[in-house]
Every structure is written in structure tokens, then in C-alpha cells.
């Protein structure tokens, strides 16, 4: 069997389409089970762990390949700092709204969800940037 570059490229492309459908599909199923069927987080832990693991591998694979966090949008240093804080802030706000929709006005839980999501997303982004900087030192 020949190692055909066109076929390798098309196989990768097909796998990528499959992965995107799989990732989005599992995410939509999770949202449906949480917000429509009102199932608890523990009821969906199996689906969530598969989705979370796949997302983590995808995220860190991009980092170790040196892909900038904001690619394909190019940003200067100041815009990158805004991005680094704004996206975790938006994620944390969405989580706080989700908590509100699930259990009503429970300020303690909403704040808890907000703070944990903000810090975890910020940490992920900082680690991502650090990995990309290491990649740049080694490869360019």
C-alpha cells in the first residue's frame, strides 16, 4: 500500500468532520439532558467525561502544535490580554445564568459557579499561552 499524501489528507479531513459532529452532538445531548430533561450532573457524568476528555485533548493538542490561542484572528498584546480576561468572564457569566435557570436565585451557588468557572478558564488559557511560548522557543 502506498503512502498517498492526497488520501492521507482526505482521511484526516473525514476524521475531522466526524469528530466535530461527535463533539457537537455530545454537547447538545448534555444540554438537552440538563436543561430539558432536568437530569443532574451525576446522571450525565459518563457523557460529560467523554466530552470533557475529548475537548481537553483537542485544546492541548492545538497548544503543543504552537497554534495561537486567538487563531485565526490576529491580535496585538493588549487585545490578547482583553481576550484572556473577557472570555473567562463571559463563560463564568453563562455558568451563573445556567445555575439561576436550574435552581433559581441562589446567590451563593451562582457566585460559586461564576468564580470557579472564571478561575478555571483563566488557568486553562494561561497554561495554553505558556505551552505556546515554550513551543515558540523550541521551534522558531
Amino acid at each position: 500500500m502506498k503512502n498517498d499524501e492526497r488520501m492521507n489528507s482526505d482521511v484526516k479531513s473525514a476524521k475531522s468532520i466526524g469528530y466535530t459532529i461527535f463533539w457537537m452532538g455530545v454537547f447538545i445531548v448534555l444540554l438537552y439532558r440538563w436543561f430539558v430533561l432536568s437530569e443532574s450532573f451525576l446522571d450525565t457524568i459518563d457523557f460529560f467525561l467523554v466530552w470533557f476528555f475529548a475537548s481537553g485533548v483537542h485544546f492541548f493538542t492545538l497548544a503543543i502544535k504552537g497554534i495561537p490561542l486567538t487563531y485565526p484572528i490576529s491580535m496585538d498584546k493588549r487585545e490578547q490580554v482583553y481576550f484572556l480576561f473577557l472570555v473567562p468572564l463571559i463563560s463564568a457569566t453563562l455558568v451563573a445564568i445556567s445555575v439561576f435557570l436550574r435552581i433559581g436565585m441562589d446567590v451563593k451557588r451562582m457566585m460559586g459557579g461564576f468564580v470557579i468557572t472564571f478561575l478555571m478558564t483563566l488557568l486553562l488559557f494561561v497554561v495554553y499561552k505558556w505551552i505556546v511560548e515554550l513551543w515558540e522557543k523550541r521551534n522558531t
Partner: protein, 73 residues
């Protein structure tokens, strides 16, 4: 034996006194990709190769060539 794609992008770029960033801008890729091409860790597509030739004012075989190397396996 395996064929390895070699290039003289770094040398040609230095002769033209342009930075990786400027070359990247001219051919429409990121600085990181130019760095990888110069270190021969990434083989550009024929389209990108031809764009590099145009900007660096070189022919394709001046800028890129194949070398045979022993397969380690």
C-alpha cells in the same frame, strides 16, 4: 532511503533583509509557520512554496530541493 525536502528560505530572506514577520505577512501565513519552514520541520504546500519564490525572487528549485537520507527504521 527517504526523500527530505530542504530549503534555502532563511538564507534568501536574510539576503533580502526582511524579517520572518514581514515575509509571513507578504505570503499570508503566520510567523510561526515561516519559522517551521526555515527549520525544515514543515513542508509547505506548492501554493505557499510558489508565493515564497515570488516574494524572495527565487525559482522553485533554488528555494526547495530534495535530498536523500537513510531511513532510521
Amino acid at each position: 532511503m527517504i526523500n527530505i525536502l530542504k530549503n534555502s528560505v532563511k538564507q534568501s530572506r536574510s539576503e533580502k533583509h526582511i524579517t520572518q514577520e514581514e515575509l509571513a505577512e507578504k505570503v499570508g501565513v503566520t510567523r510561526q509557520t515561516i519559522g517551521l519552514i526555515e527549520k525544515e520541520k514543515y513542508n509547505p504546500t506548492i501554493t505557499l512554496g510558489l508565493k515564497l519564490c515570488k516574494v524572495l525572487n527565487q525559482s522553485l528549485d533554488q528555494l526547495f530541493w530534495l535530498e536523500e537520507e537513510e531511513n532510521e527504521k
